[in-house]
C-alpha cells in the first residue's frame, strides 16, 4: 500500500512523571513488560504498513528509542527515526518532518496507542472514499480503578468523560462535525449548512478520537504550511478540515486546481449534476422524490473534500497511554480482558529463565511475572505486572500495581495501586498505596505512603 506511516511517539511527558525518565522515554514505558510502542508497531506490521517514520521528541530520547527499534524490528519494518524539539505539538512535529513525506496518503498514529483497531482498515476506508482526512473513532474506555465497576454503576455512567462531540452522517461514514477541548463544555453549535446538505446528523458524545488519522498528504502539507499557528492535529487541523469540508454545492471552477488533476473533472461534472437538479426542482417534485433531492451519501462533500470516520467496533480495545491512570488501566487490561493484544507481540518474551515462586505464594489471574524474577514465600500477586529480574521478599502483597524491572522489594511490603519504576529498592515493610515511585528511588524500611509521587531529585 502506498502509505507512509508517521508514528508520533512523543518523548518526555509531563503527565507521566515520575514514570518517564531520560533512560526510559515514554515510548518505552512497559505495558505488560513490553514497551508501549511495540503495540502500535505490531499492529502496523500486521496491516502490512511497513514504511514508518517514528517521531520522537528530543535527541536523547530519539537515540534510545531508535536503538530499541533497530534491535527489535530491524528486519521486519522499514523505520526512520526523526527527532523533533519538544513542545511543538503534533502538528508542529509533522511540520518538522514534512519534507520526508512522499506518498499520496499518510497515516498518523500516536505512539502511545494501545489498540487492536487495524490500521489497515483505517487506511482502506480512507482510500475507498478518497478522503482528505479519515479519523478513527472509538468508544470511550471505562477508566478508573477497578472498584468503580462495582457499586456506583449509575454515577459512573454519568461521569463517563466526554472527549469529543462528533457529528456523523446517517451512514456513519463521514465526519460532519467535531468538537474538542473546551468546546465540549459549552452548548454545541452545529452548522446548519452541512445539516441541510446531508439531511440528518447524528451527534455522538460517546465516541472519541483515537489519534489515528489518515491524511491526504497534499492537504495536510498545505494546511500545515498556511496555518502556522496550528499546534495540534486533534484540536486544530482535524476540526479545521471538518469545518471547511463543505464549502458550496454550486461552486464554479474559478479557483485554480490543485495538484489532483482528477478534481477538475469531478467538479465540472458536479456542476452539471447540480444544474440539472435545479431544473428538476423547478417542476413540482413528485412524491417520495428523496433520491433526486437528497444527494447520495458522498455528494454533499464531493465538491470540496471528504472527512471520513472509521468507527472501531465497540468491542475493540483502544486506549492511549497518556496519564498514570491510563498506564495502570492499560497494564491491567492487557494482562486481563484485552490479552489478545499480547499475542505475537514478542514471542520470545515468555521464554528464558522463568520466574521462581516461593512456597505458598499465589499469583492471581490478570497478573504477569517477567523472566528472571524471584518471589519469596507466602506472597500474593493480584492483577499486577512485575517486570524482569525483580527480587521480591516474603509476605509481600502486590495488588493492582505495576512493578518494572530490577526492582527489589523487601519482606512484608504491601503495594496497592502503585507504579514502581525500574531499579527501585523498597526496604522491608514498606506500605505504598496509590503511589508512583520514580526510577532508582529507595524507600526506607517501614515507611508508609499514600497517593504520593516519589522520585529522586534531579541531579
Amino acid at each position: 500500500m502506498d502509505f507512509q506511516v508517521v508514528v508520533l511517539a512523543g518523548g518526555s511527558s509531563k503527565n507521566l512523571t515520575p514514570l518517564v525518565s531520560k533512560e526510559l522515554p515514554k515510548p518505552l514505558l512497559p505495558v505488560a513488560n513490553r514497551p508501549v510502542l511495540t503495540y502500535v508497531l505490531h499492529q502496523l506490521e500486521q496491516s502490512n504498513l511497513k514504511d514508518l517514520i517514528v517521531v520522537v521528541e528530543g535527541e536523547d530520547a530519539a537515540l534510545v528509542v531508535g536503538a530499541w527499534i533497530s534491535g527489535t524490528f530491524i528486519d521486519r519494518l522499514h523505520v526512520e527515526i526523526a527527532a523533533v524539539p519538544e513542545d511543538i505539538g503534533t502538528a508542529g512535529a509533522i511540520r518538522e518532518i514534512s519534507h520526508h513525506l512522499t506518498t499520496k496518503d499518510i497515516l498518523v498514529v500516536s505512539g502511545d496507542l494501545v489498540s487492536d483497531v487495524p490500521p489497515g482498515a483505517v487506511a482502506a476506508t480512507h482510500r475507498r472514499h478518497d478522503a482528505a482526512v479519515t479519523a478513527t473513532l472509538c468508544s470511550i474506555p471505562v477508566s478508573g480503578p477497578l472498584e468503580s465497576g462495582s457499586s456506583v454503576g449509575k454515577d459512573k455512567a454519568k461521569k463517563l468523560g466526554r472527549y469529543n462531540i462528533i457529528g456523523l452522517d446517517p451512514g456513519k461514514q463521514f465526519l460532519l462535525h467535531i468538537a474538542t477541548g473546551a468546546e465540549i463544555e459549552k452548548d454545541a453549535r452545529l452548522p446548519k449548512r452541512i445539516l441541510r446538505a446531508v439531511g440528518q446528523m447524528e451527534i455522538r458524545s460517546d465516541l472519541m478520537d483515537a489519534h489515528m488519522y489518515a491524511f491526504k498528504r497534499s492537504v495536510l502539507q498545505e494546511v500545515l504550511e498556511l496555518k502556522d499557528a496550528f499546534q495540534s492535529l486533534k484540536e486544530d487541523v482535524l476540526p479545521y478540515l471538518v469545518r471547511s469540508q463543505l464549502k458550496s454545492e454550486a461552486l464554479s471552477n474559478r479557483t485554480p486546481q490543485g495538484e489532483e488533476n482528477g478534481n477538475e473533472k469531478v467538479t465540472s461534472l458536479n456542476n452539471q449534476v447540480f444544474v440539472s437538479r435545479i431544473l428538476a426542482n423547478a417542476s413540482i417534485p413528485s412524491f417520495h422524490d428523496r433520491s433526486s433531492e437528497t444527494p447520495d451519501g458522498s455528494a454533499p462533500t464531493r465538491k470540496t473534500h471528504k472527512c471520513c470516520a472509521y468507527i472501531a467496533s465497540s468491542s475493540s480495545y483502544c486506549v492511549r497511554l497518556n496519564s498514570i491512570q491510563a498506564f495502570m488501566d492499560i497494564n491491567r487490561d492487557v494482562t486481563g480482558e484485552a490479552d489478545h493484544l499480547l499475542s505475537g507481540t514478542d514471542p520470545n518474551n515468555n521464554i528464558g529463565p522463568s520466574p521462581k515462586l516461593g512456597t505458598k505464594t499465589t499469583v492471581g489471574p490478570h497478573s504477569m511475572l517477567g523472566e528472571g524474577s524471584e518471589v519469596g514465600d507466602k506472597c500474593q500477586v493480584k492483577r499486577s505486572v512485575i517486570g524482569r529480574h525483580c527480587r521480591i521478599g516474603s509476605h509481600v502483597k502486590v495488588v493492582n500495581s505495576v512493578v518494572m524491572n530490577h526492582v527489589t522489594i523487601g519482606d512484608g511490603c504491601i503495594i496497592q495501586g502503585s507504579v514502581v519504576c525500574s531499579n527501585v529498592q523498597l526496604q522491608d515493610r514498606v506500605v505504598l498505596k496509590d503511589c508512583q515511585v520514580g526510577a532508582g528511588f529507595v524507600v526506607t524500611a517501614g515507611s508508609e505512603y499514600k497517593a504520593e509521587s516519589l522520585a529522586r531529585k534531579e541531579k
Binding site: A132, R162, I184, E185, K186, D187, A188, R189, L190, P191, K192, R193, L195, R196, V198, G199, Q200, M201, E202, I203, R204, S205, D206, K216, S218, V219, E222, L226, K227, A229, Y240, R243, S244, Q245, K247, S248, E249, A250, L251, T255, P256, Q257, G258, E260, N263, I278, L279, N281, A282, S283, I284, P285, F287, H288, D289, R290, E293, T294, T304, H305
Partner: protein, 723 residues
Amino acid sequence: MGAQKKSATPRVSEDPEDLARNPLQAILLADSFATTFRPITLERPKVLLPLVNIPMIDYTLAWLESAGVEEVFVFCCAHSKQVIDYLESSQWSSKPNFIVTTIESHNSISAGDALRLIYERNVIHGDFVLISGDTVSNMLLTEALQEHRERKKKDANAIMTMVVKQSKPSPITQQSRLGTDELFMAINPVTKQLLCYEDKAEYSKGFISLDKTLIADNPSIILHNDKQDCYIDICSQEVLSLFTDNFDYQHLRRHFVKGLLVDDIMGYKIFTHEIHSSYAARIDNFRSYDTISKDIIQRWTYPFVPDILSGSTAIKVERQGTYRASDVTVSRSADIGSFTFIGQGTKIGNDTKISHSVVGEGCTIGSNVTIEGCYIWNNVTIEDGCQLRHAIVCDGVIMKSGAVLQPGVILSFKVVVGQQFVVPAYSKVSLLQQPTHLDSDEELEYADNTSGTGEPGYKLNGDITPDLSETAYELGAGGVGYIWSVFEGVQDEEWRQSVAPIPTDKLIKLMLEKDEDDEQLTQDGNVFSASGELKADSDDNGSGDDDNEDSGDDYVFFEKEVEATFLRAVNENVKVDHAVLEVNALRLSYNMASVDCAGAIFYSMMKLAVESPHNSASELHKNAADIITKWQKLLKSFLHDIDEEIEVVLKFEEMCLESAREFAALFPQILHLLYDKEILQEDAILKWADEKEGADAADKVFLKHSEKFIQWLKEAEEEDEDE
C-alpha cells in the same frame, strides 16, 4: 345541534370491559388561526375549502374514523356557523360508532385558547389525538398509540407523541415541498424523544445550538433537517391542563412544544413517531394545497381519494390518473390531460386543453381554453379563449373571454374577470376589500377580524352582498373585484408559498445568493476552497474567533433588546415589576443568564445617562445618580449573587474604556453610588479589586482610580470586625 345531543348520551360505560378502556377521542381544530388562505378564508372557513372537490375536513374526519377514533370534538371559531351547518348536513352526523361534536367559540384567537376552552368543558377523558381540520393522512394510529401508551405507563411525563415523516427541504429554497420553512429537530435515536425543535429558521444564523446538558444526557442525538412535522399529535390529558396552567401558550409548536422542551422543572417529555410508508401532511399554505392535491390525485393518500370518499356520485378513474364524474360533457376535440379531475355536471368546449388540474362541479368551460395546474372550484364560468396557469379559482367566478390568469393567481368567490384582462402573477382577487392594516401578529388579526366583522351572514355558498365601490372594477371591462395589493416586504416572498411552482429564475437567483453567502463564509470562516487549496487568510485564529463572534452577536442583540425595553420603560413610565417581567422574557428567549441581564440593564442605564443632555461631569454624575436611584429595583432584581455584581462592575469598566469614555473620570464616584444604593455589596467590589490586582497595568486604570474608595471599604470592614 343533533351532534351535540348525541354527545350528551355517550356510550355509557356500564359493562366492566368498557370501564377499563376509554374510547379514543380526538380534538379537531377547524380553524387554523392563520391568514395564509386569505382572501378565500374571509368568506369560507379553511376546513370547508374543497380539496380535489371534497372539503378538507372530510379527509381528516374520514381518516380519524378509519384510525379507530370514536369521538371527535370539532372546535370551530371563524365561520363556526358554516362548519356546524356543514357537519350537520353531512354524513358525519349520523355515523353509529363515530360521534362528532362541535364546540363553538367566538373569542378564541389561537390553538391555545381552543384547548383551554376544551379543558373547561371537561370532555376529554384519556389520551386523544390532536389534529387540525386541514390534515390529510392515511397512517395507522395503532402503532403510534401503542408506543405512546407504553411510554406513558413507564414514564408519566411522556405526555405527547408527535408524528413526523421524512421530507427533505430543498437545499436552495430551504423549504419543504409543502412550502413550510425548514425544520430542525433533535431526536434521541433510541428513545425517540424530541430534544430540540426549531421551525422558525433564522436564515442569518448559521448554527444550531444544542444545550450541553442534552449532550451530556444523550450519548447519541440525531439532528434532523429532513423530517416534516405532520401536525398529528397523540396527547395525554395533561396537555390540556398544561395549556390551562400556562395561559400564555398560544401556538402549538412555537409555544407549547418549545416551552416543554425548554422547561426542565416539570420534566415533561415529547416523543416522536416516524411514519415511513403512509401519508400525512397538513395544508398550511397555497403551496401545500397544490402539493397535497396532486398527491391525492396520484393516490398516495389511498383510500382517501375522491372516487372512494365521495361515495354517492360515481367518479371514474381513467388511465393517466384522470378522474371523471358521470355526467360530464366534454367536447370531442377537447384534450383532457393526465392527473386531472373533472367534477359532475361540468361542460367543456372545443379544443380546450386541461392538464394537471381540478375542475369542480357545474362549471362551464368554453372553447380554446388552456388550463394547466389549476384548481377550479364549483360553478365557475370560463369563456372562450381564456388561459389559466397555476391558479385557484373559487366558486362562482366568471372569466370573460380572452382573460388570462398568470401563475399564482387566487380568484376568490364570485369575482368577475373582464374581457382580455390579464391578471398579473401572484395576485389575490376578492370581492371584499383588503383589510387596511396588517397587524404584526397575523394570528391575532385574523381572529379579531373573523370574530368581529367576518362572522355575520356568511353562508356556505358565500351568499354575500359586499358593497362594490368604483375601485372594484379593477379587473377590466365588466370585471368585479379588488386586486389585493401585496404588502411591502412580503412581495419578494410571494412565490414561496404560492400554488405556482417556483420559477427557475428565482431558483437561479437564490442559488447565486447562496453562493455569495458561502463566499462570505469562506472569507469569514476559513473554508476550504473547491480545489482543496487553501485561501490565505489574514487572521490565523479567525476560525476560533468566528465562533466567538457569533455567540457574541447573540449577546449584542440581546443587549439591544434590553436597552430598547429599558428605554420604553423609562419613556412610558412602565412599572418596575413589568419591566422585570419583560427583561426576564427576553432573557428566556435569548437563553441568557441573569448575569447577562444585569450587565445589559446596567449598560442601558449608563447609556441613557450619557445620552441625556449634560454639560459637565457633575451633571453627568447627577444624571446617572437619578437613573440609578429610579431604576435600582430593576437592576437589583437581577443581582442575586456576588458574581452578578462583579459582572456589573466589569461591564461598567468596559463601558468606561469603550462606549462611554465620559464616565472614566467618574468611575469611583459611580462605584460609590452603587455601593450606597446597596446595588453592589462591598464583597463584590473587593473581590473585583482582588481579581484585578493581578491584571496588566492597562487593565488596572480604574482600580487605581478607585483605590481610595476600596481602601475605605477595606478599612470600614476592618472596623466592623473590630467592633
